[in-house]
Symmetry: C2
Subunit: 476 residues, 2 copies
Amino acid sequence: MSNRKQEKLRFQLLSAQLELARSEDRAVVVLVTGHAGTGKGQLINRLNRWLENRLTEVQALVPSEEDRRRPYWWRYWTRLPARGRISIFVHGWAGDALFGGAARRLGKGSFADRLKEIASFEADLRAADITLVKLWLDIDADIQGQHLAKLEADPETRWQVTEEKWQRHSQHAVIQQLGKQLRKATENEDSPWLCLDASPDHDLLTPVVEHMVAAMQGTEKATIARPVGRVPTTPAMPQLADLAGHDSAIDKAEYCERMACAQARLAELARRAVWRGIPVVVVFEGHDAAGKGGSIHRLTSALDARTYRVCSIAAPSEQEHLYPWQWRFWQHLPKDGSVTVFDRSWYGRVLVERVESLIDEPEWQLGYQQILDFEDQLLRHGTVLVKLFLAIDRDVQLKRFKARAVTPHKQHKLTEEDWRNRARWDDYQLAIDDMLAATHRSAAPWSLIDANDKRRARLAVLHEVTVKLVERLQVN
Amino acid sequence: MSNRKQEKLRFQLLSAQLELARSEDRAVVVLVTGHAGTGKGQLINRLNRWLENRLTEVQALVPSEEDRRRPYWWRYWTRLPARGRISIFVHGWAGDALFGGAARRLGKGSFADRLKEIASFEADLRAADITLVKLWLDIDADIQGQHLAKLEADPETRWQVTEEKWQRHSQHAVIQQLGKQLRKATENEDSPWLCLDASPDHDLLTPVVEHMVAAMQGTEKATIARPVGRVPTTPAMPQLADLAGHDSAIDKAEYCERMACAQARLAELARRAVWRGIPVVVVFEGHDAAGKGGSIHRLTSALDARTYRVCSIAAPSEQEHLYPWQWRFWQHLPKDGSVTVFDRSWYGRVLVERVESLIDEPEWQLGYQQILDFEDQLLRHGTVLVKLFLAIDRDVQLKRFKARAVTPHKQHKLTEEDWRNRARWDDYQLAIDDMLAATHRSAAPWSLIDANDKRRARLAVLHEVTVKLVERLQVN
């Protein structure tokens, strides 16, 4: 390629990047994978020289202890670029599948499952305005072998040839085979694979940059094309309407005694879970003034402060808005052997964001499936997931709002927004019903808690968490 | 305490917290330490109930793998609250010193050193508008023993009594002794220790909350009281003025050959450093258009992408502004066995922030000492620290600016700001001279690089990094 043409292409890439940074309307993820000895390092160095480095990140991941103690996809979700930025992933999730498959760390069935997960992850990226550029660097096995030998013979390039590369050379055929399956399973119109012959002296930079520029310029807001609404196997669950007919109130002395018992039991179970390295996620959703905060206090009082975090979810910050909506929840997942309590959660996607029209219907409709996928990741990693919905009646809420208004230390909890939400009670109720119907399933059921009586509700919360821990720990 | 008084105190605390959140003018750190069996957990639970949880964080730290692979203070710097927020540290750095000392993990000398580090860390917090509330919970050894025995006898509280607590009971005397030394060494007018008798049934909440409210209301902007300008042992170094008389230019063929050699050598050394778990920090400072970016590319081309990060430092974001100025640099420190290249760095504190009057003189004057302290932490952890200053002459800068203006892919690099900075050349020169004088020392010297010739400069950069690695790895 002539120098002038190169300069022009370089300028196009940079312009596209600067426009990306200015508009902050999408992020770009470049995934570079394929065979060893195909000059990935050199390609990325050259890309780096053409790109503005302050807006670019290279992610060449060696999973850390922190990564391994979280669900598999945590390492990628938490490393996504913000809108306006470009991240180049070296091998990334594709490499994990390929080399895991080749080394039989991933069995045949797991490999196939992993491909499905990849397709679903990439669909999430597209739905979140992330332009995905996927590069496969190909090379003939013989040429690969000769090239590695030549690099190794030269003292100035010998350092580039690691044992790992020779190993991958010996596995060329199986990597080629798995690569085909991978590309087939994850091929998509909006993010097609670009396969390049990366024999020595082939120019990779030009076709890669041309492809990137086209992808960055050509992208419109992706249409949400994923099938919506796989029907979950729904165990029987009470409807909110069934909550009527409460038990009589419980007196204070009895409550205190039962609470102390429940906390002692929970403390014991939680300690075992921590000791066994089990991660625990407790989700609190519910009506305003249903008593989530008070219940959380009773729950966490039984936990060792070193082992839990309470994560309060409000509207996303400006920074968080630059990422896919799930991003901030991935950030907060507990590592193995710890507990995260979510005071409101990812369910906001199909509750407040739907009711307040913060997103369009196709987005919140897609949200159900995205939530199921997200929770699947937690469950697959072995997380104990407890989902609690604290429900109160409309008139109980009114009483509590009024009480808040006259209690000095509670006044700040009562805002205009609460009254606005209350005015939309029926809309919320519809969204709640839809949410329960779509996301209640045997693997991750909702516990619906009648919270009209605070004491009973708190005991019920501890009971539900206890039951889930007993199930998982298989103790009495 | 009467219920009414309690309600009033609770409201005061909450009001102070809401005011803190509204104004975002400071953060609050509460450090709770002392003997076992003093009800710290209960105290914190109660505080949590009174505070607004969305603005509060409890930090009860078990150091993770990620923590241990960074300089000691990383775990605390990265967990500081943003302005507007409150963090409660359970034992925290005080506990590390106390229990490390009691278990003789910290020898006598190390304990004394640690106390000095604590005093310096706490001074940094005060200088960064963090209100520090320090609580020591005291208990008589006999009463402690009886109390633990009583808790253990009751099935409902037995879970609270861990082995660790009995062990600390057996070490009551030494903990008491070390605690006295700790409090003496870290006592400060603006953040005095509050020592409380925490015998069973003593009310801790009231005095603690009264103390917190007073601290939160009473704080004005701390005067910077730390001694400035400890004189470093300065090895001989060239002044910028001495740069004149450059070697003749180096031709391209020779440059390419020497660069390939240098990269091969560096690659080998870097791989050894990674393998031995040594963290490496390379700092690039220099005039605008001195060629930092190009040098960084040549450097990183010799590194395995999985082992390094380039960290470009621009003006702090809005979010970063909510933390002490050093916070963002702590965030980016490499873990053991990896390399971080800083394209500009913490030296901005005494360069751009000084010259552009973004901070007052006492702040940048204090900056020198803070920088030395920060780098001491890196060195103490075993980090290889390479500090490079790329210097060019005024007329060379002008030539490069003009060249940038006519090269399409370089135009965006040339901004109004560059011309403004150039107009203040002499002010910057003064700041650079002061910086070099104050922060050049044997343990962490500056390498001053004549960057008027790009090729020579790049070779010199690789040479300097190579020399530092050779020194550290003790290889030939």
